[in-house]
Structures are given as C-alpha cells and as structure tokens.
C-alpha cells in the first residue's frame, strides 16, 4: 500500500541526501520525493511517497526519525490531507485533434503553457490520481514528453498552529 509521509528536516548540507541514501541503503521503495522551503528559513519540508506492508512502513518512519537532521515525521496516509502534484505534459496534435486536447485540458482544469506546430504542452495540477487519469486520456494522442513534480502534501486544518507546535522545544 502506498503511504505519503511528510517530514520537516533541517535545511542543511546533505539532509536530502541522508534521506535518499537511507531509502537505498535499507531497500525501501521510493515512488516520489519532493523538497522545498517552508515559512521557517532553516527548515525544509519533504514529501515522500513510499509503499510496503505495515512492518516496512513502521521501519520507514522509524528510520526517518532516527536521522539527526529530521525534526518531525508524519505518515499522512491515515490523516485528512491535501495532496497535490503538478505535471507538464507535451502532447502531439494534428489538425483535428487540437480542439479535443483543449477540451480535455478544460475538463482537468489545466492550462496550456506552450504550443508549437507539432505539440501542445498542458500543465495539470491535482491529486496524483487525477494526473494519472489525465495521462491515460492523453496517451492515445501521443505523449511526447512529461515531467511530474512528485507529490506534495499537508495535513488539513490548522497547519500554522501545527507547525508552531511541532517546533516547540517541549514537543521535540
């Protein structure tokens, strides 16, 4: 089963590498990994999508916690959460298919970010399942190139309060 894990890590040299190395060293699955800044300067948030049985996921979470640069690890799988992924998808078109592609783009609430005389590039954002659906629909037209950001995710609700709580020394 797929699990989405969110972590706060020190924004230091090698923190990302430590997480990635741990996954390869332990032989855990890594479907996607994304990292970016948070509202706090020296802390980054990573979102990891992994999979495995309960024992493996338990180990993944513990091993992530064990890293010195990791401040907080939450398995979001069982939580109310917002998950988003962004995809840039370049699709081939012929004369007749351009309108169809624009319709598909509208259905997925995407935007056209580039076009030339052979292909059109769509930007589609949403939960990973929506991206997968868009990819499936676009596949028959001939996907020329695709870039996916990997999942970013957050717990729903009082995020700001939560992050402050997470960083309160008494909770660390």
């Amino acid at each position: 089963m797929k699990h989405t894990i969110s972590l706060l890590v020190e924004n230091t040299f090698g923190a990302f590498d430590r997480v990635a190395t741990m996954f390869s060293a332990k032989g855990f699955n890594l479907h996607s990994i994304s990292i970016g800044e948070t509202e706090i300067r020296d802390i980054s948030r990573m979102t990891i999508v992994t999979s495995g049985d309960d024992q493996i996921i338990d180990q993944v979470v513990k091993q992530l916690n064990r890293l010195v640069d990791t401040i907080k690890v939450v398995d979001l799988t069982e939580h109310e959460k917002t998950e988003r992924e962004l995809a840039l998808i370049a699709v081939n078109y012929q004369k007749g298919s351009l309108e169809e592609l624009k319709n598909i783009n509208d259905i997925f609430r995407g935007s056209v970010v580039d076009i030339n005389n052979k292909s059109i590039t769509l930007e589609i954002t949403g939960p990973p399942a929506k991206i997968n659906a868009a990819v499936n629909v676009l596949m028959p037209y001939g996907i020329k190139e695709m870039a996916r950001s990997g999942t970013v995710a957050m717990k729903r609700g009082e995020q700001v309060k939560q992050l402050k709580k997470d960083l309160d020394p008494s909770n660390l």
């Binding site: 040299f13 090698g14 190395t21 741990m22 060293a25 180990q59 916690n65 990791t70």
Partner: protein
C-alpha cells in the same frame, strides 16, 4: 562581553577536544591536516598515537572506546587517509561503538574538483555513520565538535565523521564555545514507558519458562550490576549474544553462555522453548535468530532497546520498551513481585546441558584452540581484556573463555571485520592498565593489520598477541567443507604463511611458538612474565577442526549440528 582574541582553526580544534576531555587520539598525519599537526606539536593535554595505517587507527579508537566506555577519537588526512577509515567506521556503526573520526579535506575552493587527495568522505560514509558534518565555517567548529561527541556517545552510540577542509582550519576567528547545544532532531528516549514496564514485570513473574536474552546494549549502558540483580533475584536463566558476553558472569550457574549460530546447545534450546523471552539491549541479529519464523516461536517477546528502529525490525515483538536499558532493568526488577516456581524449567535446561555439552577431541594428543583458550581462561580467571579477531577462534573464545566482567571481550560482531584484533587491542591497552590485554587472531586475520605490531612495540604496550595458526582461513574452510563440496578454494595458507616467530622478532617482539599441548602453559607463563613490551605467541593447532554446535545460516534449532561423523557427514 569579554574581549575575545582570535584563535586559529587548529587552536580551536584542540581547545574543543580539551573541553570534551579527550585524553588520546589515534591518527596519521597528511597534507590536509598539516596545520592541525603543527598545533599538536605544542599540545600537552592529550596523547597522539601514530598508527601505521588509518584502518588501524580507527580500530584502535574502537578498542579504546569499547574497553573504557569513553569516546574514541581518530584524526586522519583527506583522500586515502579518510577512505582507509571506512572499514573501521562501518565496524563501529554495526557494533554501536562511540567514535569521532576527524578527516582532513581539501580546501573548500577545490572540493568537487578532483583535487589531489580529495575524496567525498561524507558521501562515502553516509550509510555507515550515525551522523556526519562538513565544517564550512570556522565559527561553526566548536558547536560541531560538541554535537559530534554528543551524538556519538548518547542514545545508541555510533561513529560520527567530521570533515575539516584545509582552508577552514587555516583560518582564524573568535572562539565562542557553546555552553549548551540543542539538536532539535535528536532526542533519544531514556525513560521506558511505565505501564509497559509494569506489564513486562507481570509477564516475567508469571512465566513458567522465562529467558533473558542479553546483548551488547547492557554493557554499553553499564547495566551489568542491574542485570545481575534482576537475574539472581528471580532465578532467571541468562543467554548472551557475542557482544553481550561479560554482561553477566559466565561462571554463574544462571549463565547459559552464548546463543545463536555457534551458541551452546542449551542456550539455543532454551530460547526456542521459553514462554517469555526478555531481550535486553540486543537486536535480534540473524546470527542469533537463524530462521526468523521459528525463532522463539510461541514465546511472549519483550524487547528493551534504546533504538526504536531495532524494535520489530527482524522479529515482531509483543511488548516493546524503548529506553535506557539500565533504567528499565532497575524499574523492572523493582516491579517484579515474586517469580513463579520455575524449577521444572531449570531441570529441562540442565537436561539439555547434559545432553550436549561443549566437547572437543582430547585423546589424540594434538593441540587445539579450545584447549589454548581454556588455559588462558584458567590463568586469567576473567580478569583480562580479550580482543579477538573474526572466525573460528572468535567463536571458540566465546564458548571456552569464561567472561566474568563487562568490557572484557572486545570483538567485531556485526561487521565481522578480520584484522580487528591487533589494532583494537592496542587501543584497549591505552585505556586499561589494570588488566592484561590479550589479542587473539587467526593466522589469516592477523596478517590483515599486523603492521600495527610496530605501534605496540613503539609504545611498549604489554599486549599478548596470540596467533591461532591452523594454516587455513578456518571458518571459510568450515563452510567449504559443509556447504561447498569440500572445495578449499583459496583458504589454505599453509604454503604462504610467513614464519610468525621471525616476523615478530624482526619487529621487536619476543616471540614464541609451539604445537605441543604440554608447552602451552610454559609459554603462557613466559609470555605473561614480560610486562614492559608486547609479545607474540603462535599456537600451531589442528588444521581442519570444526566449530560446533552450529545452526546453519537461516536454519532452526532442529538443524543444529553438534559433531562431525566423518569429513563429509555432519549431524
């Protein structure tokens, strides 16, 4: 604010070591650490031991750390100096040994340029360190060194690498020492969960067939006395892992000796028949469990460990307690009301002891390792630090030497590093002066770090370097005989081994050799009488001896082999 004068990077480095109470460092100078060594020339508060190879220096730091409970410190140069420490770091990681390894690095402007003697040691050691630091600003050095020692020593101990670029050490800045450090991502749990401890106490007191399964964590946590009380107050049998030997007196009737692949028959039977298994500072290593599915099947498993990742990693347990094993054992002992009657359990264990005692051939007049170890055990009565290498002699040491005190067996368990014994014994000799230090190696492993004999001679360390010479890579040969069609592929050293006595003498060690049973005691007598320098003793033993009992890798207790019927058949 007091006016602060600027200090050089090297001055700051040593001032930080002084504040960490570092007494000794094991190292080897080189281009990237010249500034540090220039400063070291005028430093008086610590000893620097010049190893002959950086791997040796790292094992020395391990030996020192294991024998004393203090942090071992290594100082090497960049590139090859750093990469030579990798095996020692991996060894320390597997056996949770607190060491801090300072590596020189090329100047920051050259990092990534394939500069002379450049190696990405932080990248190379990432999966085998507890943590690591690349110092990129001299102002960060004091806090970094404090963190490095703190991380290495606390929680589940382990190796920490600190990479020091040459230009950073060559610069200077005001010395600002942090009185406190706070690492928000690193907070080891020391207090075990109270209710879990209560539950564990109840389970133990109600057990009909309880067993304590004790690992190296008990020794690291200095919890031997607490363990001894727990076992004796409740009449509990104690089985130990290789790293756990010495945590509980091997001479005590409650001791079942070692369990696992080459553990005693009765310890392995006990672990597979117990109804409550209490793991204390052990990690359910595959050399202990064999086939996981049948390990302690049916037992209620309690697991006390300071490292949460150790829990449910190899074997799913019923009751985990994350915490400092010393505190947990103390609370556990206080919570156990009265142990239920377990006389029947002890009778069963005694039956197993009689059914299949440790045994070796004594009738044919040939010298065997087991006999040598019994003589050493008799002579020292547990009052020595035994530093083994890896292989058959290591397992026989675990079986035949009676360890009675913690920190008296130093051995490479997790990584199984041949070449560990000689340098680790040297490190131990610098930390322990009130006990003889005895290094035991096979003829193969001895040759992996024998250059460090020079370090022992140079420092007049009274170590007894014992070589158990069977002219084979004995344990590999044993597996070849048992599982690889008897093809002794590249394990026979008889044609290529050096004359160890001549070798020892050339390096300045009084050296002895025998293949006779009746000479063992006289040679030991002579060797132990020499107190002002190291000695070398070669025991030429039977070539194709087997270590029994043996539970084959991944096997169950039902697969245990106890003797060789003929060269190709074992039951």
């Amino acid at each position: 604010m007091v006016n602060k004068t600027k200090l050089s990077g090297a001055e700051i480095f040593f001032e930080c070591l002084r504040r960490e109470n570092v007494e000794i460092i094991f190292g080897y100078p080189g281009g990237a650490t010249l500034k540090i060594y220039e400063q070291l020339h005028d430093v008086n508060f610590l000893k620097h031991i010049l190893a002959r190879h950086e791997q040796g220096a790292t094992h020395m730091a391990e030996g020192y750390a294991k024998a004393t409970g203090k942090v071992g410190v290594v100082l090497v140069t960049s590139g090859p100096g750093a990469t030579n420490t990798v095996t020692g770091i991996a060894d320390a990681y597997m056996d949770s040994v607190p060491i801090v390894v300072f590596t020189g690095q090329v100047p920051t402007s050259l990092i990534g340029n394939d500069a002379f003697q450049e190696a990405d040691i932080i990248g190379i050691t990432r999966p085998i360190t507890k943590h690591s630091f690349l110092v990129r600003d001299l102002a960060e050095l004091p806090a970094t060194i404090r963190k490095a020692f703190f991380i290495a020593f606390t929680g589940r101990p382990g190796p920490v690498v600190v990479d020091l670029p040459k230009d950073i050490i060559g610069s200077s800045c005001e010395f600002d020492y942090p009185e406190e450090i706070n690492i928000r991502g690193y907070k080891p749990t020391y207090d075990g969960h109270k209710n879990q401890i209560k539950k564990a106490a109840k389970k133990i007191s109600e057990a009909e067939k309880p067993l304590l399964y004790v690992g190296g964590g008990v020794i690291m946590a200095n919890a031997s006395n607490e363990l001894t009380s727990l076992a004796r107050d409740n009449n509990l049998p104690v089985a130990m892992t290789l790293q756990g030997l010495g945590a509980f007196p091997g001479t005590d009737k409650l001791s079942l000796g070692m369990l696992g692949m080459h553990g005693t028959y009765w310890a392995n039977q006990a672990v597979n028949n117990c109804d409550v298994l209490v793991s204390l500072g052990a990690r359910f290593d595959d050399r202990v469990t064999g086939k996981v599915a049948t390990f302690a099947r049916g037992a209620y498993k309690i697991h006390v460990d300071i490292d949460p990742t150790a829990i449910d990693k190899n074997v799913l347990v019923d009751l985990p307690i994350v915490g400092d094993v010393k505190q947990v054992i103390t609370e556990l002992t206080a919570e156990i009301p009265a142990q239920s009657q377990i006389d029947n359990w002890w009778k069963q264990i005694e039956n197993w002891q009689q059914e299949c005692p440790l045994h070796y051939e004594t009738e044919d007049g040939q010298l065997r390792t087991q006999y040598v170890l019994e003589r050493i055990s008799d002579r020292t009565r547990g009052n020595a630090v035994i530093v083994t290498d890896v292989g058959q002699h290591q397992m026989w040491t675990a079986q035949y030497y009676k360890f009675t005190q913690p920190r008296t067996l130093l051995t490479s368990g997790g990584l199984g590093t041949m070449g560990f014994s000689v340098p680790a014994a040297i490190g131990a000799a610098f930390g322990v002066q009130d006990k003889p230090i005895i290094s035991i190696s096979g003829d193969g492993g001895f040759q992996m770090n024998m250059q460090e004999l020079i370090t022992a001679v140079a420092n007049k360390l009274p170590i007894k370097f014992i070589i158990i010479n069977n002219s084979f890579l004995g344990m590999v040969r044993q597996w070849q005989e048992l599982f690889h069609a008897g093809k002794y592929s590249f394990t026979d050293l008889s044609q290529s081994n050096p004359d160890f006595v001549k070798l020892g003498e050339a390096l300045g060690l009084p050296s002895f050799s025998t293949d006779r049973i009746d000479k063992v005691d006289t040679i030991l007598e002579k060797a132990f009488a020499i107190q002002d320098k190291p000695v070398l003793i070669e025991f030429k033993v039977v070539k194709e001896e087997m270590v029994f009992p043996m539970v084959p890798s991944g096997g169950s207790i039902s697969d245990i082999m106890v003797k060789r019927l003929n060269p190709k058949r074992v039951v």
